[in-house]
């Protein structure tokens, strides 16, 4: 799987390259600035890009802007954005084109290598990977949303994991229940939130995120 990496700190860049190579990713280019990243993304059209939000020359949200711009030029280009902090504002911007194939994770999550690699693969496959912190914030905001308050605690757990972008199988594994049970919970959640239940996993995730973002 071909990866473009955008990270300016040498220590982290080398670490990420080593990590990705250990899991058989092919790092086609590792760049250290916003403009270089945009060029690399458009030139290589990688299977997935792993991008740090903050990049030179401005050391602001250069990486995010480059990723969003690249997705405008190459629709559906899978991008996983890493950051030292999460902002709902940025999550919203990444999700705004409703195309999926985006991830937005805290840099800390890299330390859980398996989960991190799983997130990259998910994004590459067109899915989403939202940081649990983003989802927590979204759910906190939805505290006064009538339909959300009718969810059972278990349904809320399923909703959080689903919003993070995890598959039914992964959710089942996390909660120690069968996939069938997860399917039932999801059907209940969609019923309560009055969302159309789609067969496609990614569509379901995007629908849930869009719902949470609205409340």
């Amino acid at each position: 799987m071909r990866v473009v990496l955008g990270e300016d700190l040498v220590l982290l860049r080398d670490g990420l390259i080593r990590l990705l190579q250990a899991y058989d990713f092919d790092v086609v280019e590792a760049v250290d600035s916003g403009p270089a990243l945009l060029k690399a993304l458009v030139d290589h059209r990688p299977d997935v890009a792993v991008v740090d939000v903050r990049l030179p020359p401005t050391f602001t949200d250069e990486g995010l802007r480059a990723a969003i711009e690249a997705r405008k030029r190459v629709p559906g280009l899978p991008v996983l954005v890493l950051s030292q902090y999460v902002e709902q504002l940025y999550a919203r911007e990444l999700l705004s084109d409703r195309g999926g194939a985006v991830g937005y994770l805290l840099k800390d999550r890299v330390s859980d290598v398996k989960q991190f690699v799983d997130a990259i693969r998910r994004v590459a496959a067109g899915g989403t990977a939202m940081d649990p912190e983003v989802i927590t914030q979204l759910l906190a905001r939805g505290a006064r949303d009538q339909p959300l308050t009718t969810l059972t605690p278990r349904e809320r757990e399923v909703l959080s994991l689903m919003a993070e972008g995890r598959s039914n199988g992964a959710i089942a594994g996390r909660l120690f229940v069968t996939e069938k049970a997860v399917g039932k919970h999801i059907a209940n959640i969609f019923g309560k939130l009055d969302l159309p239940l789609s067969e496609d996993d990614n569509r379901r995730v995007l629908a849930v995120l869009a719902y949470l973002d609205r409340v």
Binding site: V53, R54, F59, T60, D61, Q84, Y85, E87, Q88, L89, Y90, R92, L106, K107, D108, S111, D112, Q137, A140, R141, A143
Partner: protein, 426 residues
């Protein structure tokens, strides 16, 4: 000018002249205060002068205060009281403050000057109007054989006096017309000259305010640095030590007990995650990354998104303020919104940001129960202090029952690097 305007103008001016005349005794009323004040100074030696001095000075200050307000109204400017505040409420301290305050002596000088100016400014306009009217009456009086009556430059024997007198009267009236609105302004200017704080006093005052706000800023900064130091020491640093320990032990155990080593490594990872979370919170408190990235626009919208209540952000700025001002404004809004969430019982809030007349103005409103005040040690007082470092001000309108509107103003320039304008509900 229509007849209507003429009548209205004349009525206005006559009223002005009449009230000016009525002010004349008021201007004279201050004169007794001069000996009353002066005589109390030697009496201080026999103690009885102390209350008397304080009493008469207070009277004099009320008296000058009246003229200060009047002059401020006439000139449409603000004339702040120039007096020094005593350091404490002890009678001797107050006497010393009063006696050494140049404003006390300026007040004293004001009394005779004001008496003279007041009489002049009160009498002259009325005299001009009456004199003008008299010019028309004189010929009539002459006809009724009041031959001894003289008028300006003319008497009954002056050739053409019957025509000249009304002409001179008209000249008087024209002069009265011109002078009536100007004379009170002249009086007011004299008042302002003597009663406004001298340039020296204004500067002294300004220096005191700056010294206070600087001391506050330095204190706040020192406290902030101490907090950061403590947070780092107890938080991230401790976690990193724990992480190092876990790693070291894992290294030891790797060969002998791989399972235990694995547990320790998991622990180490946990430590690193917690250390990062703590650092992240710390950084947010120092300078939120989103503020650096997106300026006030993005940062306030991000703040609104993370707020438990729906917050509407309406921001129109043609550029970004300087970083310290931007940061102060951001934290002031953040703190206020936190207060809204904690205390107001509101169901929604709004933030409005504009830059007008060289000032960044921020308004934060909510539909809560009101009754907010900047109490000592409270959040709003902290904001006020923080803004004071930038010459900023804080205003609170919060009637019991709500709604609450907090207004902040910060003098600053915008660097017009980019245009940002947005509004929306989060």
């Amino acid at each position: 000018m229509t007849d209507h305007d003429l009548v209205r103008g004349a009525r206005e001016r006559l009223t002005q002249a009449a009230t000016g005349l009525a002010r004349t005794p008021l201007s004279l009323l201050g004169l007794p205060l001069i000996p009353l004040q002066l005589v109390t100074y030697p009496l201080i030696l026999v103690t009885v002068g102390v209350p008397l001095l304080l009493l008469f000075t207070a009277l004099a200050r009320r008296y000058t205060g009246f003229f200060r307000r009047w002059a401020a109204g006439v000139l449409g400017v603000e004339i702040p009281p120039p007096y020094r505040l005593p350091e404490n409420r002890g009678p001797m301290t107050r006497v010393r403050t009063v006696a050494t305050d140049p404003a006390t002596w300026r007040d004293l000088a004001f009394l005779p000057v004001n008496a003279i100016t007041g009489v002049f400014c009160g009498v002259v306009p009325m005299a001009l109007w009456l004199g003008g009217a008299f010019g028309f009456m004189v010929p009539l009086l002459w006809l009724t054989n009041a031959n001894s009556i003289e008028y300006t430059l003319v008497d009954i024997d002056t050739p053409g006096g019957f025509v000249l007198a009304p002409m001179i009267g008209t000249a008087y009236l024209a002069l009265a017309w011109w002078a009536t609105p100007r004379i009170p302004r002249l009086h007011a200017r004299v008042v302002k000259w003597l009663l406004a704080p001298s340039a020296n006093a204004t500067l002294t005052d300004r220096v005191r305010v700056l010294a206070d706000s600087r001391a506050d800023t330095v204190d706040a900064q020192a406290a902030e640095l101490r907090r950061i130091e403590r947070d780092l020491h107890d938080g991230a640093q401790a976690r990193l030590v724990a992480l190092g320990m876990s790693l070291g032990m894992a290294e030891e155990l790797l060969a002998r007990d791989p399972r235990a080593a694995q547990e320790l490594l998991a622990e180490a990872r946990q430590s690193s995650t917690l250390a990062l979370a703590e650092l992240r919170n710390l950084v947010r408190g120092i300078h939120p990354p989103v503020l650096a990235d997106r300026g006030l626009d993005g940062a306030l919208r991000a703040l609104a998104l993370a707020h438990p209540l729906p917050v509407e952000v309406d921001l129109e700025l043609s550029g970004r303020p300087e970083a310290p001002v931007e940061s102060a404004a951001y934290f002031a809004v953040a703190e206020t919104l936190t207060n809204v969430a904690k205390h107001s019982g509101a169901t929604g809030a709004w933030v409005r940001v504009r830059h007008e007349h060289g000032r960044l103005s921020l308004m934060i409103g909510d539909d809560g129960r009101g009754g907010a005040a900047a109490s000592e040690g409270g959040g709003l007082r902290g904001i006020e202090r923080r803004l004071a470092a930038f010459d900023g001000t804080l205003g609170i309108a919060s009637p019991v029952g709500g709604p609450t509107i907090v207004t902040m103003e910060l003098p600053c320039e915008l660097s017009s690097v980019k245009t940002s304008s947005s509004s929306g509900t989060a």
